[in-house]
């Protein structure tokens, strides 16, 4: 059977202003990974990446990013086809939870000199390079929406949110970008 067509929640959107661009990130595989300390070594091995153990830290390896969201919680984001669930399915005898969130979340890439100012219109976090360096990530808010924010480059951030909040988050960033 022909596979059903996939429709991105922000399909077709794009914004380019002087000093700022916004675009939807391509579809990705995502897992919510929950595990205690005892399970981490085995999971690190299965993923081929050392899960970050420090708050707000992230780690990347082989097309995979692991974002620390809590003492026992990570958001794993990988390119389409990475087969995350399969890699973890083989693990037995350890207690953890891996739940597919590939479609629950969507992401927006915000890039440019004004990115920090646009985000600061709705995000109360300190986004200075010292407090939120490249590689930092955090579950936080943008206006009334919960987001996961990750700094991928000095002037580029990834904003993850639930798909039905994407329209609001996008519009908020556009409004903020225009007044940044």
């Amino acid at each position: 059977m022909a596979e059903a067509a996939r429709i991105h929640p922000l399909a077709g959107r794009r914004l380019a202003l002087p000093g700022l661009s916004l675009e939807p990130c391509p579809p990705a595989e995502r897992l919510s990974l929950r595990a205690g300390e005892d399970a981490l070594a085995a999971i690190d091995e299965a993923l081929g990446l050392a899960l970050p153990r420090r708050p707000m830290a992230s780690a990347t390896a082989g097309g995979l990013a692991a974002l620390w969201l809590g003492p026992d919680e990570w958001l794993i984001v990988a390119d389409e086809g990475a087969g995350l669930a399969g890699r973890l399915a083989a693990l037995t005898g350890i207690a953890f939870s891996a739940v597919d969130l590939s479609h629950r979340n969507t992401a927006i890439s915000i890039d440019g000199d004004k990115a920090v100012l646009a985000l600061a219109a709705g995000c109360p976090r300190d986004l200075s390079p010292a407090a939120f360096p490249v590689g930092a990530c955090s579950r936080t808010v943008l206006g009334k929406a919960e987001i996961v924010l990750a700094r991928e480059a000095p002037a580029r951030f990834r904003v993850e949110c639930w798909r039905s909040f994407a329209d609001y988050v996008w519009n908020y960033l556009v409004d903020a970008a225009k007044s940044a």
């Binding site: 059903a4 996939r6 929950r34 939870s97 479609h103 629950r104 219109a121 329209d167 609001y168 409004d175």
Partner: protein
């Protein structure tokens, strides 16, 4: 004396001030055109043009002029516009910068500012005493709405708000810094500069357009050998060039909250003639500061004497600022009434600029000899130990009456302007908002910052510091650096609190304490005589300090007069609370981005677009837009819902259930956790099967419900109500973290991972089956769940039914939802399937007696009350709510229970919420025994149906009860809750 070119204003003095005479702008005031200089405030421009009458007072409609030169202005409130929609009432003319094309209008006068009918209030003023409203407008109550309120509002008001929607944009910014400095006067600049040079992150906010604070008013101060104003400009230039510093002019710190969160309002375009169309008008800053330096300065007070409010009477420091910064003199023959040294400096500067000074009247018997010597040098007459006991002049002051304090005859001086200084009130507003304690300094008649409650330090005049040298030293010390050298001779010593000579208890005069709310010394005394003892009561009774200026010039005088009348010391009478905002803040700034589509989040399902294209009407469920019904051309809601209900039961219906809350419960202790959170027993739920679960609160009442499927030994797919999804997850997480932290189980919201296409009806299997791979639908029993594929994508297929029909809910990854929905639609439409919305869903579930939590339960309904006692695992040792259920009143029989109702007339549809009685003939008030929770017309049943919670309801089956309505009393029969297919045969198609 030379006068500048006439277009700059007749009161502009050539060679004075810092504005360029070459740069002129045009504006209008009450439709008359005027010319100003770029950099003028509306107040300085009006004064330059000889306009002294700018407003009418709130209660008595007395003519008023400009009192001050800053944020403390109580009188000069005007409407300012650039076009019809961009109109702002109650703007302080002293804070509004003039721009080319500005349109200003006076307020609170009719028909004109010079001739105002409302001024009659002034002559009958004795009939408007303190507490007038409390005493007069008491009865009849009906008169409030029709007579009193409209009349009062029209007669005693501020400006009118525009009726058009606000066309401007507003913005917000969260910011973090090591040091937030509020105030760009000498102390604030010294602190900011020290911290900036040390590489710390600094935000410097000042409410004025030009930095310098008190340095703007003087030409005498030297800092590091240069004039103070130039020093300030150089410091700001250096700060602005640094990456670690944000300099915010035109920015008022208006609120100081917990943990050093300070709110700032930045005015971005109100000073511009032609702002960029997309530029935000204002920006709200929410600053989290490591440390806050408050350098907010001090506010000069008036002197409270008879008729101290005539146009042309102003604060001495304001006149000095108008002269030295704007090059404007407020008069040509000026009297000075001083209780403080600083007023003398104004007189000296004006005299030196060629303005005649009628006399310096100082109520102090002893004044510093150097001031007297300088006055003598400048040939200014000095009357120490004297008081101004009255003034004349209707639309502008014409004379002052001066009398010796020791007694004796008074003299009249002809003047056109009177400057006064009752001393300085440190601006402790923000410090007090931060919960810092204030200490009374009796020697100087002022409250000073005491113990700080947050990491915050006060420097300069707001800390009571009187000299430039000390202010700079305090500012520099706050940043841990050495202060610059300072030279200044001006002094701020001396003060007078309360009523001055001639405005005492036996004087029947209007000596204003609060200009904006027209509160006089007499009113304060009367409030005390009528029993007010606390300053908080005096304030509310007289409205002293309750106007938009929040009593910046009034509060200390009011307090002093109340204390004197009570015979108490000032600290015993107390100080009113300082509340944000320091100055008025627009709603636009507070709301900022949250307008229009950003007012709140609108959540739409992946299938929303299809529903929209197919004519769906939507309803709001929380933040979700849900399809309510799908009317066909010519159909009203009832017809559409009836058709959707009929067709679903005859053929099939397709329903977007994507908004259902979904939680994945995973871990070796998943089943143990489920046992604790739900009333049901989950141990014996096989993998691949589903069960209807009920969740209670600790008190034993139903909290939520939903179908739960077991995907694996250690994995459950839990569904919740749409509205309950977030709180159910929080409830579960709360118990997991606090009560059951030993369990190895994790909870993840997957509500939006899965789009849910529900197909219900006898043809459901025929429609869905061809699209499904890896799952044998025919082998799926009712209440089962399978993982397979639908339309080639991974799917969780549940055989469940909220309609009582054969039904499947196909969960697919959300991005595929639309395509899968369309594929199912393509299959089903030729067979006669219809899409249905939430209304038909509600009707069909009620036909089956299925409850909706929150509609048929109200937080006081147990599972047994709802007829769901079977879902409680009686042998379970523990679950949330088990102890609540054992409370005697919850375990007792005869509780209010859910039953069905049928109206005697089958076509009558009851109102949801209607009350139910056993005997309609009993006297009113009748004993209510329950109420209707759900009520619909059921086309499938051919009669109306209702669910109701009724006392001992199940014992009343078959009884006739009554629903009394306004127009009729409706007889109803108590029935079981299931109206259709009680045997459940339809579940098999």
């Amino acid at each position: 004396m030379t006068v500048a070119a006439p277009h700059a204003g007749a009161n502009r003095i050539a060679g004075k001030g810092r504005l360029s005479p070459a740069r002129t702008v045009s504006f209008t005031f009450d439709r008359r055109p005027y010319t100003a200089l770029a950099g003028d405030t509306l107040a300085s421009a009006l004064l330059a043009n000889g306009v002294n009458l700018v407003g009418r007072s709130f209660k008595y409609h007395r003519p008023r002029g400009v009192l001050s030169a800053g944020a403390d202005e109580p009188n000069a409130l005007v409407g300012v516009a650039r076009d019809a929609a961009r109109f702002q009432p109650n703007v302080r003319a002293t804070a509004q910068e003039v721009f080319d094309g500005l349109i200003a209008t006076s307020q609170n006068r009719w028909p004109s500012l010079a001739f105002d009918i409302g001024a009659g209030n002034d002559f009958v003023g004795r009939f408007f005493p303190a507490g007038f409203y409390y005493k007069t407008f008491m009865w009849p109550a009906a008169a409030w709405k029709r007579l009193y309120e409209p009349v009062i509002r029209a007669a005693a008001g501020l400006g009118m708000a525009p009726k058009e929607p606000d066309p401007d944009r507003y913005a917000n910014r969260f910011a973090h810094c090591d040091l937030l400095v509020v105030g760009a006067g000498p102390a604030g600049l010294a602190a900011a500069l020290g911290a900036a040079r040390a590489g710390r992150r600094v935000i410097l906010a000042d409410e004025n357009a030009v930095p310098g604070g008190s340095l703007l008013a003087t030409n005498e101060a030297l800092i590091d050998g240069v004039p103070g104003f130039d020093w300030a400009a150089a410091v700001v230039a250096e700060l602005s060039s640094k990456d670690n510093v944000t300099v915010l002019p035109r920015t008022t710190a208006f609120g100081y909250y917990a943990q050093n969160m300070v709110a700032l309002a930045e005015r971005l375009t109100d000073h511009l003639a032609r702002p960029a169309p997309d530029a935000p008008r204002e920006r709200l800053w929410q600053v989290r500061a490591g440390k806050v330096v408050l350098a907010t300065g001090a506010i000069e007070r008036q002197i409270v004497f008879a008729d101290n409010d005539r146009p042309g009477i102003m604060l001495a420091s304001a006149a000095r600022l108008y002269l030295n910064h704007y090059g404007v003199t407020p008069g040509r023959k000026i009297g000075v009434y001083a209780a403080c040294d600083s007023a003398w400096a104004a007189a000296f500067d004006l005299k030196a600029a060629g303005v005649e000074i009628a006399a310096i009247v100082d109520c102090r018997a002893e004044v510093p000899t150097d001031l007297v010597a300088r006055a003598n040098d400048l040939a200014i007459g000095v009357l120490a130990g004297h008081a101004v006991t009255g003034t004349s002049g209707r639309l502008r002051v014409r004379s002052m009456r001066v009398a010796p304090l020791a007694g004796g005859g008074s003299r009249e001086f002809e003047i056109d302007c009177l400057l006064m200084s009752g001393g300085w009130t440190p601006s402790v507003h923000l410090f007090s908002q931060s919960r810092g304690g204030l200490a009374y300094d009796a020697a100087n008649g002022r409250f000073l910052p005491g113990t700080a409650a947050q990491d915050c330090i006060c420097v300069g005049a707001c800390n009571g510091t009187l000299t430039l040298e000390d202010a700079l030293a305090e500012g520099a010390a706050a940043a841990g650096v050495t202060p610059p050298d300072a030279e200044e001779t001006a002094s701020m010593a001396g003060h007078l609190l309360g009523a001055a000579s001639g405005a005492g208890p036996r004087d029947f005069v209007k000596a204003f304490v609060d200009f904006q709310n027209d509160v006089t010394a007499k009113d304060i005394r009367q409030a005390v005589r009528e029993g007010m003892r606390s300053i908080e009561h005096v304030k509310r009774y007289t409205t002293n300090g309750m106007a938009t200026d929040q009593g910046k010039t009034a509060n200390m005088h009011g307090l002093a007069i109340a204390a004197e009348t009570l015979g108490k010391d000032i600290p015993e009478v107390g100080l009113t609370t300082f509340r944000p905002p320091y100055t008025p803040v627009t709603f636009g700034a507070i709301v900022n981005h949250a307008r229009g589509e950003l007012f709140d989040v609108t959540r739409r399902t992946p299938i929303h677009g299809w529903a929209e294209q197919n004519g769906a009407v939507f309803e709001d469920v929380g933040n979700w837009k849900r399809t309510w019904y799908f009317p066909r051309p010519g159909e009203d809601m009832a017809a559409a819902v009836n058709r959707e209900c009929r067709t679903t039961r005859q053929v099939a219906g397709i329903f977007d259930a994507s908004t259902l809350g979904k939680i994945e419960v995973v871990g070796p202790d998943a089943v143990g956790f489920m046992n604790l959170l739900y009333t049901n027993a989950w141990d014996r739920l096989d993998v691949g099967r589903c069960r209807y679960g009920i969740m209670l609160r600790e008190d034993g009442y139903i909290y939520d419900d939903g179908v739960v499927g077991r995907l694996a030994e250690d994995r459950f797919h839990v569904t919740t109500t749409t509205g309950g999804a977030p709180r159910v997850l929080h409830h579960m997480e709360d118990y997991l973290q606090t009560e059951f932290p030993h369990l190895k189980v994790w909870l993840t919201s997957v509500s939006e991972q899965w789009a849910v296409v529900a197909v219900q009806g006898p043809r459901a299997r025929d429609i869905v089956a061809p699209l499904i791979e890896d799952v044998d639908l025919a082998a799926m029993p009712h209440m089962s769940i399978r993982q397979g594929r639908c339309c080639g994508v991974p799917a969780r297929i549940m055989r469940v039914s909220f309609t009582g029909e054969l039904g499947f809910e196909i969960n697919v990854p959300a991005d595929f939802g639309r395509a899968v929905w369309e594929a199912v639609w393509e299959r089903g439409e030729p067979l006669g399937m219809v899409p249905y919305g939430t209304e038909a869903m509600h009707v069909m579930r009620a036909e089956k007696g299925f409850i909706i939590v929150g509609q048929d339960t109200d937080g006081t309904v147990t599972p047994d009350d709802a007829g769901l006692g079977w879902a409680v695992g009686r042998s379970k040792p523990d679950f949330v709510g088990i102890r609540g259920l054992r409370r005697p009143d919850l375990a007792a029989g005869g509780r209010r229970q859910l039953v069905g109702l049928r109206t005697r007339d089958p076509r009558t549809v009851l109102e949801e919420g209607a009350q139910i009685v056993a005997d309609p003939h009993q006297p009113v008030p009748m004993k209510m025994i329950g109420f209707v929770t759900s009520s619909y017309w059921s086309d499938n049943c051919g009669h109306s149906i209702a669910l109701a919670l009724i006392d001992d309801g199940r014992a009343r089956l078959g009884q006739t009860l009554y629903v009394p309505m306004a127009s009729e009393t409706i007889a109803v029969e108590v029935t079981a809750t299931v109206f259709l297919d009680p045997e459940g045969k339809r579940l098999d198609g």
